[in-house]
Amino acid sequence: MKKLLYCVFLILLVVFPLIMRSKYFMQIANTAVVFLIIVMGLNYVIGFSGQISLAATAFWGIGAYVSALFSVKLGFSFWLTLPLAALVSTGAGLLIGFPTLKLRQFYLGIATVGFGEIIALILLNWTSLTNGADGIPGIPKPRIGNFVFNSDYRFYYILLTCALLLLFVSVRLKNSRFGRALLAINNNEIAAETLGINAHIYKMAAFALSAFYAGIAGSLYAHLIGYISPDLFVFRQSIIFLCMYMIGGAGHIAGPVIGSVLLTLLPEFMRFLKDFYMAFYGLLVVALAIGMPTGISGLIEKYAPRLYAFIEPQAEIPKQTRGHRGEA
């Protein structure tokens, strides 16, 4: 039954471009998938290991620029620049994670903001490498033989494949010895350490994984749009990713999916508000954050355990699920 539902869902995702006639909406959908990958990466740092990262945009930018530079300046194909971008971004994650992950909470948050600002400044001011504010145009589309992924409809399938693979990875990791160690650190770091878990190494691994996801998203984004510039990779964007993440629900597999799709589509349905729409968007985000601190997935877990069992593979559902609220 559950498998059947997953299959139906998968088929819907595959045929989605065939029934979607609006080219514009297809573009939005693709952007949502790129964001989804980044937000899934955040889950390792924030949801699993319980740390704060406001550097997602920086790793996204690193992935995008590595991909763009290698393909435009050296003529590498997308199939090479994608793993390269992921690798460089992961390396940057390990490098920045090593000193900063000794910090706690706020201090870690501030350190990651600082890192994001440094990357943004480098992208803007290292003109000889990055073209500065002009950005990098003409990033080639991926191709297999003579088939070029030159439309949003075609590119969607690359994005979908990557997103599903990475979703699968996060399901596997969450329910593994590795994932349990991260969750243990999140719940009680001292207890985790006395059980043989080296918290610093595990936090670094989580940080590197999130950089890996963001690096892949950066590469995909660069080849999808074909043009990147430093004004994309600014601090504000990290906050948007964080909003998507928190509203989807921290720590759940479905959280990033719900949050990123919802918050990417939401502005489109609010265009009729014209000049006021960003203000309403902001208000709505505030309302959602206050109304459901555990995010949408958290609400589903509490009030619809059966639906939760579907969207959270290998979820543990207590035998007599009591509906009462508020436990520690």
Binding site: R180, I190, A191, E193, L195, E316, P318, K319, E327
Partner: protein
């Protein structure tokens, strides 16, 4: 001397001007149940924290099975074969009961990120092994509950037992219990005494901090008494019961004279 599992030699731990553990030495034999008692603030928990690597001692040595462990990080101490519980229960409240104990069995496994993703046969078997281990530890402490519920939703007594099960899941050779009987009712205390004996019968050495003299006297092989960070006595329950220094430490010198 008999087989010594933990040899504490002149351990010193200071917090600023306060010497919480002052040149404490003791040797714990393999297979014994050792109680660590003393008035509040006498350094019992600090000594456990020094053993388990949460604090590094300023002076002295701690030998576990002959090898020094002072200054190791807590995870290093765990890998050597020592596990513990905490005075203020430190469970993974948001995680299910079974996951709590499976995390306790962390060092029994090897699987990393890649194995988790590819999930080959030996990793599947390892997961099953950890799960079985966790279930047998829950059974061992007598926790027969729905293992899918979150640890935070258990009753106080169940949480205490869950923490013991979690500590046992790593298959330690030495277990440190920090005031496990605190807050338990008489029936739960009797159950705990049984568990402590069963742990020893499995061949695991027990070092426990306890305020409840009923528990201490009925289960310990030997007792070490701390006062103001220093060891003031050590011996069998009968010896400790009649030790002048201990009675003074607990009742105060004048009060003790009045009782006399």
């Amino acid at each position: 001397m008999a087989d010594v599992i933990l040899d504490i030699q002149n351990a010193v731990k200071r917090f600023g001007g306060l010497t919480a553990v002052n040149r404490v030495s003791t040797a714990i034999r393999r297979g014994e149940i050792r109680a660590l008692i003393g008035p509040n603030g006498s350094g019992k928990t600090t000594l456990l924290n020094v053993i388990s690597g949460i604090y590094a001692p300023e002076e002295g040595a701690i030998l576990f099975e002959g090898a020094p462990i002072q200054g190791l990080f807590p995870y290093g101490v765990a890998w050597r074969g020592i596990s513990r519980t905490f005075q203020n229960i430190r469970l993974f409240g948001n995680l299910s009961v079974i996951k709590n104990v499976m995390i306790g069995a962390h060092i029994q496994g090897k699987a990393g990120i890649l194995q988790a993703i590819l999930f080959p046969k030996h990793t599947r078997e390892e997961e099953q092994k950890l799960r079985n281990k966790a279930e047998s530890c829950l059974g061992f402490v007598g926790l027969e509950i729905d293992t899918a519920v979150k640890a935070a939703s258990l009753s106080y007594g169940q949480r205490r037992l869950l923490e013991v099960a979690r500590a046992l899941a790593s298959d330690p050779r030495l277990i440190l219990l920090d005031e496990t009987a605190a807050g338990l009712n008489p029936q739960e205390k009797r159950h705990l005494i049984d568990i402590i004996r069963k742990i020893r019968d499995k061949g695991i050495t027990v070092l426990f901090v306890e305020h409840d003299m009923g528990v201490v006297m009925s289960v310990s092989d030997r007792i070490t008494v701390l006062n103001f960070g220093s060891k003031i006595a050590e011996g069998t329950p009968d010896e400790i019961k009649t030790n002048q220094l201990v009675l003074e430490a607990y009742l105060g010198k004048e009060n003790y004279a009045e009782v006399e």
